[in-house]
Symmetry: C2
Subunit: 658 residues, 2 copies
């Protein structure tokens, strides 16, 4: 690396830190270092699947992916989240960590694991009771029994409460009769459905005694010995943009009968005589409680997006310190790409944001682990609600980050980045749907906003979107405005910072309390703005739906501001709580990254801060200068910082780039 001529990062008194890569990896891996190491080893063992993704046809690749998944299951890697008595590892956090790490490799393998153990297995575990656990868990943990998770329909993806599949209880035979009403109600994009699943967890409107009880889940056999069962119709979804090792398909049910015991009855049941009963009286609340148990999928996908970004950044960063193009600072030698200011600007803030999201993911994974490993009580219930917002938000930001980062890295590798052997083709194509599945990102951010707008008022939590609009516009607005009034907010922020009234003008740009105060101010101001706009619209007697539509980008902006604040908090907290024996160089490097993340986040939205009186023109320009200065300081550390993520070298491929 030649940084001498091109990157004078030297402020007086600043000494370039030395990064201890193994120590940083250990910090990042945290308490799940062991299972992460197991996955890294497995990835290396099955590295040839990356070639198979290119070389095999779709049918053969699907079989190959299935085999790899089953073989990995035998190492214990994929069953960490199941109880030990069924052959699992009994550690939910470890199962998330394993999944995240698997995202360094082929993503069809990852998604097949997610479908089988997360969605299918998770539904049996979380929505079922002992009879279902005894019947299915042992076999599904080994991969002997493949299943699918049949929720989404062609007509309804995001609005699951409106699904069209119906399950009618037949009291005479004590069976449920499952029927697809119309093509819009066919199950669609269902992983494992086209080929491998023998069993489906089917979400359908339950009808008992002529009365609709809302969406419930049923275990429905769909194949035996590879043959599709009577009454079930399967269609292959065909070629997809990516993830072609996963057999997505469509399912139709024509009066398929399953015994009464097929209802996953943790939260509601039907007696043999046909009496519906549930421990949760409010149907909306019941529905969201059931869905809430499946939050793990979102946490997994968010983490996978973050780790897929690491693969792309590792390749692009290594390439950027090898590749020379144009003489700039010297007559005789071309300059390496990463010594160009523009190239630093393209890659280094993405590295910083990846670190920030990594730490935010640690928080949400820990919260998930705690909620699902404890006995329910009131305090836990509050954490569970917080978890849902956090999971939705981190998933949205993590997967958008993946889309953006992988694209930038491909472009930063020029034509070479276009060759399939260099991984970007697969990374781009395979991660593309992450922003959509397990909850469309825009819908998820609305979910986050819903939580924020109501301070978790319980009436609100159980509402669908129409209810939400009405509720927000009629009832909750007063409270929200009170809670987040600009006055109170400014008071609160002033208390935090030494600058008093001028806190936002006098604090140091690199003071993390200042950075956090800025993001907190933005979040609360946006939120109260949304509430005010909604209330004004309704006070004027306009249609609440129309009002909501007009405010929607503001709603989503507020949610995004909330999540970015959580992400920065996670980074700042981690930095503050570094172990006493953490190498000083790592401490300095992480602090630089945290500053770069915070300031580039503020910079990206500096128009908003200026519009709302929290940035002067001069200070805004200073922030841009500081971002450039931080980039120059981080530039010589860049390779160490990406290497610390520990992406197995076999997963980088890119023989001519890294």
């Amino acid at each position: 690396m030649s940084t001498d001529t091109a990157a004078p990062a030297s402020a007086p008194g600043y000494a370039e830190p030395e990064v201890d890569v193994p120590a940083l990896t250990a910090l990042l891996d945290g308490r799940y270092a062991e299972v992460r190491q197991l996955v890294r080893t497995n990835l290396a063992t099955y590295a040839s699947v990356l070639d198979d993704a290119e070389d095999l046809d779709v049918d053969a690749f699907r079989e190959r992916v299935r085999d790899v998944v089953v073989e990995m299951a035998a190492t214990g890697q994929t069953g960490m989240g199941f109880p030990e008595e069924y052959g699992g590892g009994g550690d939910i956090g470890a199962s998330i960590a394993a999944f995240e790490t698997l995202a360094f490799g082929d993503l069809s393998v990852l998604v097949k694991v997610g479908v089988q153990f997360g969605l299918f297995g998770g539904a049996i575990l979380q929505l079922g009771t002992k009879r279902h656990h005894d019947a299915y868990l042992q076999d599904l943990v080994t991969g002997r029994l493949m299943g699918c998770f049949a929720m989404t329909e062609t007509g309804h993806g995001s609005n699951v409460q409106a699904l069209g599949t119906v399950a009618t209880y037949d009291v005479a035979t004590r069976e449920f009769v499952i029927t697809t009403h119309g093509d819009a109600a066919r199950k669609d994009y269902i992983g494992n459905a086209a080929k491998h699943a023998e069993v489906a967890v089917v979400f359908a409107q339950l009808e008992v005694g002529g009365r609709s009880e809302g969406v419930h889940a049923f275990v429905v056999p769909i194949r035996e010995g590879g043959a599709v069962l009577d009454g079930v119709r399967v269609e292959d979804d065909g070629l997809k943009m990516g993830l072609n090792g996963v057999d997505n398909g469509r399912l139709w049910f024509d009066g398929v009968r399953v015994p009464r015991e097929a209802l996953l009855n943790r939260f509601a049941d039907v007696s043999p005589a046909g009496v519906y009963e549930s421990s949760i009286e409010n149907p909306n609340r019941r529905f969201f409680t059931m869905l809430g148990t499946l939050v793990q999928g979102r946490v997994c996908v968010g983490g996978a997006g973050i780790n897929a970004s690491k693969v792309a950044l590792t390749i692009a960063t290594r390439y950027a310190v090898r590749r020379r193009q144009f003489e700039a600072a010297s007559d005789t030698e071309e300059q390496v790409l990463l010594d160009y200011g523009m190239h630093q600007r393209r890659l280094l803030p993405l590295i910083a944001r990846t670190y920030a999201l990594h730490f935010a993911q640690d928080v949400v994974r820990t919260q998930l682990h705690d909620v699902f490993s404890s006995t329910p009580d009131a305090a836990l219930e509050a954490t569970r609600r917080e978890l849902e917002g956090r999971a939705a938000g981190t998933k949205a930001l993590g997967t958008w980050h993946a889309t953006r980062t992988i694209q930038e890295c491909r472009e930063a590798c020029g034509g070479a980045g276009y060759l399939a052997v260099n991984r970007f083709a697969a990374l781009k194509a395979d991660t593309d749907v992450f922003t959509t599945f397990e909850g469309d990102n825009h819908v998820l951010l609305q979910l986050v906003a819903k939580g924020l707008l109501t301070d978790y008022a319980s009436e609100f939590e159980d509402m669908d979107q129409l209810g939400m609009v009405r509720f927000v516009t009629n009832l909750a607005v007063g409270t929200v405005i009170e809670r987040t009034s600009a006055h109170k907010l400014l008071e609160r922020v002033k208390d935090l910072l030494p600058g008093g009234d001028e806190w936002d003008q006098e604090a140091g740009l690199l003071d993390s309390e200042y950075q956090l105060a800025m993001l907190r101010f933005r979040e609360e101001h946006m939120l109260s703005g949304v509430a005010r706009r909604l209330k004004r619209g309704v006070d004027q007697g306009r249609n609440p739906g129309v009002v909501f539509s007009e405010v929607q980008d503001h709603v989503i902006g507020a949610a995004n501001a909330h999540v970015e604040r959580l992400v920065l908090e996670a980074f700042v907290d981690r930095l503050r709580d570094l172990p006493a024996d953490a190498p000083e160089g790592n401490r300095v490097a992480l602090a630089l990254l945290c500053d770069l993340f915070a300031l580039s986040t503020i910079e990206a939205d500096r128009a908003w801060f200026m519009e709302h009186g929290r940035l002067t023109v001069q200070r805004s320009k200073s922030i841009s200068r500081e971002v450039n200065a931080l980039c120059r300081k981080i530039r010589p550390l860049a390779v160490d910082l990406v290497d610390a993520w520990g992406v197995p070298v076999e997963m980088l491929r890119s023989p001519d780039l890294v």
Copy 2:
């Protein structure tokens, strides 16, 4: 369409315009309506190639694409740019228009056409003389003779002047000896090289009598009857992210001998006795003159990016008025996506920008046509230089627009957008490299900046990047600062607008003179800022390369500002010059789109305008509100506006979406 409940666009006095779709299509197609119609017909005839892209393996698909290209060539579509005496159409503008329209279809076909007729054919036509034209043109126009354009090397893509392949003149045999020195000098990513090309135009450092004369082009046979010739080594580039119907490959030359006449000698020649002679004395200028003749490729790729965006937007917009999700404004019916404010924000500014880029492309295509259809003189020379900047800039903005638009449209179609049958998979994968080939977009914007910074001083034009850095920092800066001093600039802008000193505060947001003045101010201010920063750095005695690296993002920002101003000007000019009989509804609709493009462009950079005193906080917020209001007005016209692009329905596929 149900817009009644959800989109009250009604300002007092505003009447929703009615779009005359066929008349709008005729306006957009312009003077090349006939050739565009021919291409649309051909696209429909060969629509099955879209299926073949999914169903066939790489080898079979390459053959299929070759066949389609040759069959299309027989209709005259691909030869429009060649002289009539060689079987061409003799109309360069028409050849660009044909190419642009071809981008509605499979993009391997497009790129194969570009390689064969644009790059290979263009090099023979523009760099060769009559002997080359007589020998090759007739056969290449029909596709009987396939060729490739061997410029890029593994080690050098953007910096072509530093290529490593060498052609040494052997006076004894009157031959050139072509040799690849080291793997970095292998030709790479060369379309048609892996399989179909019989002839290559090879760019190599010419050495005559022990003296290096810089990069020149040679016609080199590489295959006969499908067999690779002695001394040539070919390697397949293998699977790529997309465009797998094009056979990209690598080429090595080991002392391959070609006769003296193989030199494409329009601008320079070697006499039999080994004397080098050229009509252009300055070697840098000679090099850039040769490259300049190839500008057509950039114009083609920019136009292709813009038209690929149209396909994605047509699908996503049609889907957005069909697909319903969530009840919002009604109890009984879910709301169509495009009635949601966020969805309007996602799609409609992209439609507006696509229209703007379409008109900008008209300007650059016309300029290209004029330059290449006229006898050279001094005035033409100035236009030619302007053309180079315009072509580079439109290519960069048009291809980035494609990447961003196709991604947004895919996400806006949810999981359905992920299925290959719905076109986004191919559109994304195939267009991805557009931002890189025919000039990396960042490098192209630097080229634009170079032109701007020097007011086309002739010493500057001939410089490589190192020279550019030195020149800018030493010589030109004074002039530039003079030319664009903030004072003079403000005077100039004030003259344009009625508001006097307060022009930027008092003008109507929908006044196109105001919008243009804003973009002009930004451009000139950024440019003078770059010049000042460069000068200051060098005055402080720092390494110019280091200074340049620090200012690089600013350089690229200035170029981007310049190109966006040109794009808005193109739209405003077109609107002003609409034919008198243009339907009033179309006039209104285009004016709405022009306003939306202008204001969403200003909005996206409103931080800059606030930082530089040209937007107050209040006015900045007004612009965002106006963008939302424009979106609501355009919403009911959206389907007509995308239909007017005339994407053949066979190219949309997406059976479940449109």
